[in-house]
Symmetry: C2
Subunit: 356 residues, 2 copies
Amino acid sequence: MAYGGKPQPMKGIRQLADHLDISIGTVSRALNGKPDVNEETRKRVLAAAEQLGYVANQSGRSLRQGTTNVIGLMIQSSRETVENSDNFFLTVTGGLQSVFSRHNLDLIMLPCPNDEDPYEYLKRMVARRVVDAMIISETQRIDKRFDLLAKAKIPFAALGRSLSIGQHPWADLDFDGVANCAVDRLVAHGHRRIAISTPASDINLGFVFVEGYRRALERHGIHYDPALVIRAKSSEQGGYQVADELLSLEERPTAVILIYELMAIGLYRRMMEAGIIPGRDIAVVGFREAPRAKFLQPPLTCFRTSLYDLGVELAEILLSAMPAYGHIYPKTRRQTIWSLELIPGESDSFQLATTK
Amino acid sequence: MAYGGKPQPMKGIRQLADHLDISIGTVSRALNGKPDVNEETRKRVLAAAEQLGYVANQSGRSLRQGTTNVIGLMIQSSRETVENSDNFFLTVTGGLQSVFSRHNLDLIMLPCPNDEDPYEYLKRMVARRVVDAMIISETQRIDKRFDLLAKAKIPFAALGRSLSIGQHPWADLDFDGVANCAVDRLVAHGHRRIAISTPASDINLGFVFVEGYRRALERHGIHYDPALVIRAKSSEQGGYQVADELLSLEERPTAVILIYELMAIGLYRRMMEAGIIPGRDIAVVGFREAPRAKFLQPPLTCFRTSLYDLGVELAEILLSAMPAYGHIYPKTRRQTIWSLELIPGESDSFQLATTK
DNA sequence: ACGCGCTCCGTAAACGTTTACGATACTATG
DNA sequence: CATAGTATCGTAAACGTTTACGGAGCGCGT
């Protein structure tokens, strides 16, 4: 007598139970695949849920379970990043999700507003307990967020290294390896005076990049000259500015390594304006591969990698740090340096004539 | 006697209340700025919350209130989009947040996994009641998501038009306006045979784009030839392919309008390979402005707009559709076409000699 | 007949908030 | 002094789940 009426408005598991004339507990067990339920009734419950479009309210569930089945990826959308992130995050996200979805985990991206302090933003998100675990990106050289997450006892992994990172898990592009390879290549072509560009901000990858460059120079017995380290934004304008600064140096370098491929556009233009031809008068090496690198004339020498696979790796690293999944993903390789493959172009392929 | 011990582990408002020797209700009222609380005690509560790092558990709060203070932005991260979205979403997101943050609303991005049906994904997210309102993007020509959201009675706005949109609010780039302007310009330069590129997928913007193009042609008394509408991916490779198809036409067009600026890179290259010089032998007009458009030789004629401000507009449109904010944002202009400004380059500036 | 184990299901407590309601103390007013 | 009004606070219910616990029914061996 309780059922048979018009379809109730479906406000929760209560209505579903009433409709089936079954207790609320049994419905919950049936939906969640618990063992203590007849296969026959489980089928009925699942069918009714499908038909009535019932999906468990997330708030109620996570309040009870203390878990949300959500992983957060924090990004700082609109600072310097927005100029150069390209599809970096979306591609990495694809890899992350391919792993998470296997475990019924949902990934959400948490873009920190540009008028809010990233640390405070993260604190807020963490304290609200809206995610089970966290991935942070664009790590600073000194980054208080690591302490915050550790103290909050929330599992996390970082996309990018940091001095503050300790034993925490991370994955990062091989910035020093790339810088190293670029220097080797340039030195082999006869260059001794090599400039490098790095972001103006405190993002750690810049330091790692320059550090790899410095060590490579030392290995070749070349003096490290801080004047050749140019801080600039990772954009076309930044590249233009780098060229500007290089041109103003009294002892002009014969090669330059850019931390972001897009900068080559501006650099090429400024050099051309000054009558200096990239690939003939100055060697240029970029960083990540991108379509326009192929278009530049001469084509830019740069480095390729699969950001999707980097996402896969990072997801596994994070899961191995989560108690509930630690048994599936071994605790090995919790800190991964992601290598890139050299794509030789023609922007640095000339042999330097011994000048001076 | 109840307090003064060591700092409790701070599990919730309960501990905070105990620590202050105040009732749990008063603490809640104090934190939420309710009137029925002494200013003196409110200060004590706020101070203690700050000191102990208390932030309300989101699950408990939204379970009780039936509201989450979260707006979702759904994106399909890794389909065709990932090739061409550039920083489109991150930039729009910046604008969205600048509005939402004024109302203590948090924006989260919900990237639909590429192996999941977007409709099912959205259904899941909506049913879980994890957001108060929703923004959907990359709208298809026929898009079932509108029905879904309307039936679920969840406020929403769309970034992009659709045939399924009815009276629902949206904001969209002025695709037909751009196509219109491009045709006008090309016709003024003597072109009569004008090709256009459009995405291969069912995303609606392609249809709007071509429709604007078709109407502009008609206005000039030019026959609309379906053979000149080339479907291709919005990437460099897509541009290469467009050029390929144009070259294979018996009656070759003298101008081409691209729906995505990046395609110009591939198109330029393929044209050059065939000995055809863009800006001299064929006119090219691109769509959104991007740094590389300036670098292309000859510079690409394209269109500029502020995606950030588009985000601001879209946020206001959404808020005006939410009951709790409708009184702040008037119900006017719930469907907005976002205009773009022509950036003349040299890729289409030559006057066509009357051939044939 | 009895007890035991097993399968299946209902009951109720608990998760952390917010908020309607009532209680208390104090002030002002007659 | 009695009463009404006001400011402040405590109490408890409610939100929608999950899950520990116990109970009912049944089959089976002794």
